[in-house]
């Protein structure tokens, strides 16, 4: 479980706090989507979950963050890192090797995974992300999307309990973006991994995340089950966060028909609703 209590954080040498009084919990096996305008503190929040705040980025830290039973302030970063896998926004800066296979080996070697177990872990990560064919390639020869998948594979190989991703689909086309989200979803189902994703593509979040947190100016302004958060679509719009068009549709219909319609979060639900109306 991830339990954040009244967390405020101001980066060293910065005037304004990047996080203001954030309280947020994610149960084991949950899938949380974090959305919000630029500069809202989304990246800072996931840094706090992974422990690089306060271990790497210094500053004023108030409140507490507990990850898998460990308090992030008291626990050394390497211990936290065994539990939390992190995929950063800028793929190129997190890749340390020149070859795909070496990149996946890197964390396995460092965390002392027994060498007898390594081949299996390598195969698992490559297969799971669907990049077995890239195994022998050099990183330089890969496209942005392929690099993104390598970065994810290198973290999955470590079998973390919690996976934190900061805008993992920024460089990807819609089809690859969906692939990444289905992958996360399947890892969660098969291994009970807790997933936290910062993402701007609201439609993907609606389809895959069971919880949403909306951030603005360092604070979590709304959180809860995806559908409940979307029910306040007008408020979201005011914050500069859009919602899927099917949600807008269900809300417009509620107004036009003068009765409350179910909040639709995906195409299937919208179809059911529409068929009900047309019958």
């Amino acid at each position: 479980m991830i339990d954040i209590q009244s967390l405020s954080f101001t980066y060293k040498d910065e005037e304004h706090p990047a996080l203001r009084d954030v309280t947020l919990t994610v149960p084991d096996g949950g899938f949380l989507g974090i959305i919000g305008p630029a500069g809202a503190g989304k990246t800072t929040l996931v840094r706090a979950v992974s422990g690089v705040i306060p271990h790497h980025y210094r500053g004023d830290f108030y409140g507490s963050v507990s990850v898998d039973g460990m308090d992030t302030v008291d626990t050394p970063l390497t211990d936290l890192s065994r539990a939390v896998g992190m995929v950063f926004q800028d793929v190129d800066s997190q890749i340390v090797s020149t070859e795909v296979e070496d990149e996946i080996l890197y964390g396995l070697e460092n965390f002392g995974v027994p060498h007898s177990e390594i081949p299996e872990r390598l195969d698992f990560a490559l297969e799971r992300v669907g990049i077995a064919d890239l195994r022998g390639r050099s990183i330089a020869s890969l496209s942005g999307g392929q690099r993104q998948k390598v970065a994810i594979a290198s973290v999955i190989a470590l079998r973390p309990k919690i996976l934190v991703l900061d805008e993992p689909t920024g460089e990807l086309d819609p089809v690859s973006s969906r692939q990444v989200f289905s992958l996360l979803s399947s890892l969660r189902k098969d291994f009970g991994i807790t997933v936290i994703v910062v993402e701007q593509k609201i439609m993907l979040l609606c389809e895959f995340a069971d919880r949403l947190a909306v951030m603005d100016q360092g604070a979590v302004v709304r959180q809860g089950a995806t559908r409940d958060v979307l029910a306040g679509a007008d408020e979201l719009e005011a914050l500069g966060v859009n919602c899927p068009r099917v949600t807008t549709l269900s809300q417009l219909l509620s107004k036009r028909l003068g009765r409350s319609m179910p909040v639709c979060v995906n195409l299937d639900e919208a179809e059911t609703m529409a068929r009900g109306l047309m019958a």
Binding site: A38, D173, P244, R245, V246, L252, L253, A274
Partner: protein, 272 residues
């Protein structure tokens, strides 16, 4: 007018290639190029601007062959907004950045005119001019890049995934501005974009590419309704069009229009 005649391009076995592309874009059109990663979209827009030269075929802008004039000379005519604004921004203030672009392209004009033009653009975009680009957010930097391109008043604007990494509000800012240029000044817009909702909202015509070839070309709405085409090109159509298709409806491209249709049907049903 932009004309591609049987254009092919391949680059030493790496990078997406395009083959046998032929199409025309009239002045004032708003065209989106769609397709999966690696379909050759970026290659195509770079070919249009002459940043890369075709290995065979011809690219003509306003009747002149792009292979025969240096790209830097064409900058006055064609503006190019890249996915990453940091490739372009190199000055310490927004004002300097805009002036830098102006002096590169309109160096022959008197300085006062350029300064006046810069101030006009700054005001238009709501910048004071003294902001430091690298202290701004990604979306703001993208706006700085756009401002410095629009400052030179190009006739054609090429956008390569202009909304990547931007939040919804920033995305609307950028796209609304571009639409205004298109409507008011008849600037031709050619845009590569992965967000199909944005394409539906802003573009008039769509070119669909896969594996370096042109698969489809037509009005955006018709293109999105072509199921076979969408599937071959691995494109998910915008939600409302997807819904309309599932329901067998013709209109309803926007939530508003769809709500009208559905509300009318529901009321009609109740009256019976």
């Amino acid at each position: 007018m932009i004309e591609l005649e049987k254009v092919s391009f391949s680059y030493a076995a790496q990078g997406p290639t395009v083959s046998d592309l032929s199409f025309q874009i009239e002045q004032g059109e708003f065209v989106a190029i769609l397709g999966a990663n690696g379909a050759g979209k970026t290659t195509t827009v770079k070919l249009i601007d002459g940043l890369i030269r075709p290995t065979s075929g011809r690219v003509m802008i306003h009747g002149s062959d792009t292979a025969k004039t240096p790209v830097s000379q064409r900058a006055r005519q064609v503006g190019f907004l890249f996915q990453n604004p940091d490739r372009q921004i190199c000055k310490n203030t927004v004002r300097e950045e805009i002036l830098f672009g102006l002096s590169a392209v309109r160096g022959d004009e008197p300085e006062e005119r350029r300064t006046a033009r810069a101030e006009e653009v700054l005001a238009d975009f709501g910048f004071t001019g003294d902001e430091e680009p690298f202290a701004l957010s990604r979306g703001q930097r993208q706006r700085v890049a756009l401002a410095s391109i629009l400052a030179v008043e190009p006739e054609v604007l090429i956008l390569d995934e202009p909304t990547t990494g931007l939040d919804y509000r920033e995305c609307c800012h950028i796209m609304d501005r571009i639409r205004r240029m298109n409507r008011e000044r008849k600037v031709t817009v050619v845009m590569v974009c992965h967000d199909m909702e944005v394409v539906l909202d802003y573009a008039d015509r769509a070119l669909v590419m896969a594996c370096g070839r042109l698969l489809g070309d037509g009005p955006v709405r018709e293109i999105f309704r072509d199921r076979m085409l969408m599937e071959t090109a691995s494109i998910l159509p915008p939600q409302m069009i997807g819904l309309a298709q599932r329901l067998g409806l013709d209109g309803g491209d926007t939530p508003e229009a769809m709500a009208d249709v559905l509300a009318a049907r529901a009321k009609g049903g109740e009256e019976q």
